[in-house]
């Protein structure tokens, strides 16, 4: 009967496929790897166009002033791309929270053990547990807001650090 209706096929398949020897411990690296693979490119997508536009002149100037590779990266490259990098990380974080496909395949889908929030929303929804599904979805929405708040706070912290540096010099 499982093969007859598409709906029941969708509900049954993950549980039917779960082999007995799959352990939750083994699923975690899979989830992490899958998420990294799908989301980390998003971090690079923000700073790369910025760096292309800025060109290598500042780094070259730093080298001729005697800075070594690590010093150039820490003092020149990284500060120049910090906003783009921060936004990239936020995008990456948002994607990781919402990532479904890769995790769904790799996690094994064991309730409360190897599940991520989006998977849980789907599972609850498929079980007709609408209250549960909407609660979990609301939690996801809440996390998004927390991320935005965290971002604003981070920007304040970085700006304040910049200002402190400037004031210190003005005083000097």
């Amino acid at each position: 009967m499982c093969f007859v209706t598409p709906c029941s096929a969708g509900c049954c398949r993950p549980r039917a496929r779960l082999p007995a020897e799959t352990s939750p411990q083994r699923a975690l690296p899979g989830i992490v790897l899958g998420t990294i693979l799908v989301t980390v490119p998003l971090i690079a997508r923000e700073p790369i166009p910025l760096m292309t536009e800025q060109g290598p002149d500042e780094e070259l100037a730093a080298v001729t002033l005697g800075a070594g590779g690590w010093s150039v990266f820490r003092r020149v490259t990284l500060p120049n791309i910090r906003w783009a990098l921060l936004h990239g990380m936020l995008l990456c974080n948002a994607r990781a929270m919402g990532e479904f496909g890769a995790v769904s395949v790799l996690s094994g889908h064991i309730r409360s053990l190897t599940e991520t929030l989006p998977l849980r929303v789907e599972a609850l929804y498929n079980d007709d547990d609408f209250v549960g599904a909407f609660s979990a979805a609301t939690l996801l929405g809440g996390l998004a807001i927390v991320t935005l708040v965290a971002r604003t706070m981070l920007e304040h912290v970085i700006r304040a650090a910049d200002r402190a540096g400037a004031i210190e010099e003005a005083g000097a």
Binding site: E58, L60, V63, T64, L65, P79, A166, E169, A172
Partner: protein, 347 residues
């Protein structure tokens, strides 16, 4: 502390940017690398800064192999056309950068760095701008910061890559004088890359004129002016008129006058094309005047000089530059006689 460049070549793909360049730069000298775009002057500067490695050739600084040292080790100050200031740092931190990145053992104390920054702010005449960010400065001010930053590490060689290229004419002139003053105050050997012949001739002790990856001529501005090594040098350094002539034992003969040939030193006899500057030509409106018969077409210009455009009988257009007081004696349409006091002959 001389810099000796010997037979340096560098090709980008099949394009030879440097085709065997040799040059000696003296200690404390202000040398200008002049040339049209694509002549290889910026490539040579990058080789000296350690940002590019040449394919062949040697560069010795004070007898030591410069090419074996990394850009970090060379202690060369480099100033870019687009300033390349660290945009997230204040002016003071920009200037202090070269000192702050030194390893702990050789790094000056914070107080010493601050004193040095103040000293450089004064030298570059940007006192009071130390707490500003590069975006809050004008182009001229930014370039002053870039020069101060390069000087902070007490470089053995100061390299400037078209430093005034992005500035307007008035600021450019002002900064030119400043740069010369800073050079004279610090005594640092300076190489200025530019395509502006006026800038090079006005600023430098010696000018090295490059063309197509080769050194055309190296000499003082006066030497380049009075004894240009080739017609290219002559045409690159100023306006020129072209006129057909006949060369005969070192003299260029025209219809009505003759002029000494300054380049090449021993011109081949026969038909040739002569080049001469508007300011080396003269007009005479007298009835018994000697010279090439021409007709004045137009008089223009302002200030102390006037350009008088003339046409020869066969339709060649020639420009003569004269003092404003002298130009009042002429009117458009008037037949006059033209002479030139020195010419260069194209091979």
């Amino acid at each position: 502390m001389t810099l000796a460049i010997d037979g340096v070549t560098k090709a980008f793909g099949r394009f030879p940017a440097l085709a065997g360049v040799s040059l000696e730069v003296r200690d404390g000298e202000f040398l200008s690398l002049l040339g049209p775009s694509g002549s290889g002057k910026t490539t040579l500067l990058r080789v000296l800064a350690g940002l590019d490695q040449p394919d062949q050739g040697r560069v010795l600084f004070d007898g030591a192999d410069f090419l074996a040292q990394t850009a970090r080790e060379r202690r060369v100050g480099l100033v870019f056309q687009q300033y390349a200031l660290f945009r997230h740092m204040t002016v003071a931190r920009n200037i202090a950068f070269g000192l702050e990145v030194r390893p702990r053992a050789t790094r000056p104390s914070a107080a010493k760095i601050r004193a040095r920054v103040d000293e450089l702010l004064t030298l570059a005449q940007i006192d009071g701008l130390g707490h500003r960010y590069p975006t809050e400065l004008s182009g001229g001010q930014r370039q002053r910061v870039a020069v101060a930053r390069a000087l902070a590490v007490e470089p053995r060689l100061l390299l400037l890559d078209e430093p005034f290229g992005a500035l307007d004419a008035k600021v450019r002139k002002e900064l030119r004088g400043e740069l010369r003053r800073i050079h004279d105050a610090t005594g640092v050997t300076t190489i200025l890359v530019t395509h502006d012949q006026e800038e090079a001739m006005a600023l430098a002790d010696r000018v090295a004129l490059m063309n197509k990856g080769r050194m055309e001529q190296v000499g003082t501005p006066a030497e380049l002016d009075t004894t240009p090594a080739s017609p290219f040098v002559f045409t690159f350094l100023g306006e020129t008129n072209r006129l057909a002539c006949r060369v005969d034992s070192g003299q260029a003969r025209f219809d009505g006058f003759a002029a000494p040939v300054i380049t090449p030193r021993e011109p081949a006899d026969g038909a040739a094309v002569a080049l001469f500057r508007p300011e080396d030509a003269a007009l005479d409106g007298g009835t018994h005047a000697q010279g090439l018969p021409v007709r004045i077409v137009e008089i223009h210009g302002r200030g102390a000089l006037r350009q008088i455009e003339c046409l020869t009988a066969v339709g060649e257009r020639l420009t003569v530059e004269v003092a404003e007081a002298f130009a009042t004696g002429f009117t458009a349409g008037q037949p006059v006689r033209l002479t030139a006091r020195r010419v260069v002959v194209e091979a």
